[in-house]
Symmetry: D2
Subunit: 217 residues, 4 copies
């Protein structure tokens, strides 16, 4: 099985505005060359620009569980979809939501036919998130985020535990992923792919970093 | 003096995506015809699309007090500026921020040369917001939002009190504004303009509503 | 089976300070007379006063998922336990928590041997909350809170759906409960009891209201 | 002038429950012996126990800007006052509030005759907080909290700047305070006293730490 690579652009200088477009282009090329699906997750303000120029799945970093109405400053599913987004992260560790909001965000995204990835921090919250019926859950142990130590190596039990707790909902794993062998390990532990950020976006050559990531396939 | 009209698109169906573009076009025409400055405030995901197509000042509905870095799902000043935004609301009643965040958001926006409008709910918070040195404060008594009763009529003392409390920082007023006479009253009470939303966005003919709004000038 | 009555004091004048003590006394008498377990849930600042004077299970309205440390203004499990609390609500509709916080709060409470009741708003979040393994989940459809219309009558399917989704975790239901027949209906729908507030605390005679509540047993 | 010492108990094991009572007793003795006013700020659940047993001003760590009503899990001014609290921190760095909430909390506290201390993180937010007319502002530069480096030494300009920005509202300073000379420096920079926590609560002998703190007077 080919893994899914979800590349979170966060708010790094290297992945904002023009740089975001460039990074998305690199991701598209690597995806085309390798046959691996790479999803790019730019800042919300950059979604339209990227989806307009590049044929690659673009996801949002956040969505709110709202409907049309008076919700200044919030992120509306229908607006994301119209701008070209095809999915969204929900409850990322840097943008946690209340339990009822996670559910409402997941439902709002589905209403607009957006694929949903609910992020979680441990096995218990993975079980809870999976019970809300998203398309994916993505487990990222907070102590490993940005550590450079891949979760698949540091704590394989949390990954296999998450896969079991998800009861059939597809699982991604994140935190510390930067090499092809990390992706391979993630797949071998039962996940469908990885969620990563700085390992690629802040690499000296992001395209090369992506190529290395998919090289094992 | 000509008033400033700040038109908040919120997340209404009538002001999302294609509809947002259409509404911005109407605003541009009314602004050109009347000589009144109209600022449009679409959802963040719609900023690029509008600023790319229409010559009109576009502001964001929200900004976070962050710098480049790991801030998934947050709104970065530099990303807004690159996408064409020229200013931003801060602390809107539907997206309130912590005190330290209001300050940080105001500083982040200035760093990217974005004009700042801090929203407030009463005279005391207007005084506090103005002391942070934004370009504007916008007072909106929460009990009047969406009421159809203009703050300039229902509670003129809160407007004059806000102007006094702002100590030279320019003041906008909002809540219940929908007619030219409301704008006129706001100016006579010492403000520089108005912040409004549903009175225009949900009007049967938004362009006509904008024309009526600027007709008294 | 005898139902469990959980009486949330909220922050009403009728259930603050001396009034809280009086209400807890009434609850104790009704519990003794009827053999029904009544749990009182006063404000956190009133827990010590009540637990010191009255032999009745006292729960907290909120707990934070923290450990000993620098957490000014937060609610620590061990401090609640030392003050006499024997359990706690988590994620009440008026004090919603992030998903990871619900999990952490539930774990913190267990660490201090406090019984946990996670509050939820619909079937999906009940399933998610139950998967975190609390002692109870309490479903309260937000549209019925304070309505005077009992959830057991207005929407029995949401109650039976919650009982099924909870997969063996005990379920309470709330919103609109004020009479003995509401409690009876709740039990017949498969719950272990009810969570209620204003139906008793704001009754002309709270003791009589409690007596009516347990009269059907 | 004699300084004001505000001792935040946070949620440390050393200052919870029975330990909180013991620490408050030590504070009382040092206050009596030295003539310096020491205010103790225990966890909310410990306020009643301490105020019942010891004659010392007890403040809350947090208060919500609410009135009597349905506010489960929130902190009500009148309940604090009935339990013996005589003042409260507002917007502590570990429990930040939205701007409108800071104002509402300050007003709620005044309504119940509680002395208010609004905490701030820099000169700008000190100016904003002071404009809300609390009894005190307490500036704590976040980078120095728990550092052991007293703000009065590391950054005296931020203290004098805060005193100036407060325009007559009394100022406390915090972060890194642990010795008598830090208190002395704080007073010389124009403040009325200090807000401190771990320097005393986690000292091997808290009473001795407090004696050292007031020794310079």
């Amino acid at each position: 099985m080919k893994p899914l690579i979800v590349l979170n652009f966060k708010t790094y200088a290297e992945s904002t505005g023009e740089n975001a477009l460039r990074l998305a282009m690199a991701a598209k090329q690597v995806a085309s060359d390798s046959g691996v699906t790479i999803i790019v997750v730019p800042q919300i303000v950059d979604i339209f620009y990227i989806s307009q120029h590049i044929e690659i799945p673009v996801y949002a970093q956040h969505i709110d569980g709202i409907e049309f109405g008076g919700h200044t400053g919030h992120v509306l599913a229908e607006a994301l979809a119209q701008a070209g987004a095809r999915g969204t992260l929900i409850n990322h560790s840097e943008r946690r939501l209340k339990l009822a909001e996670v559910d409402a965000a997941n439902e709002a995204a589905k209403r607009a036919h957006l694929t949903t990835i609910i992020c979680t921090n441990n096995i218990a919250t993975t079980r809870a998130a999976a019970s809300l019926n998203p398309d994916f859950v993505a487990i990222e142990p907070p102590e490993l985020i940005g550590s450079g130590i891949p979760v698949s190596k540091a704590n394989p039990e949390v990954v296999t535990g998450a896969v079991e707790a998800a009861k059939g909902i597809k699982v991604l794993c994140g935190a510390g992923i930067s090499k092809g062998e990390d992706v391979k390990a993630a797949i071998e532990l039962g996940t469908d792919g990885v969620l990563l950020a700085s390992g690629v976006t802040k690499a000296p050559d992001p395209k090369e970093a992506l190529q290395n990531l998919v090289a094992f396939v």
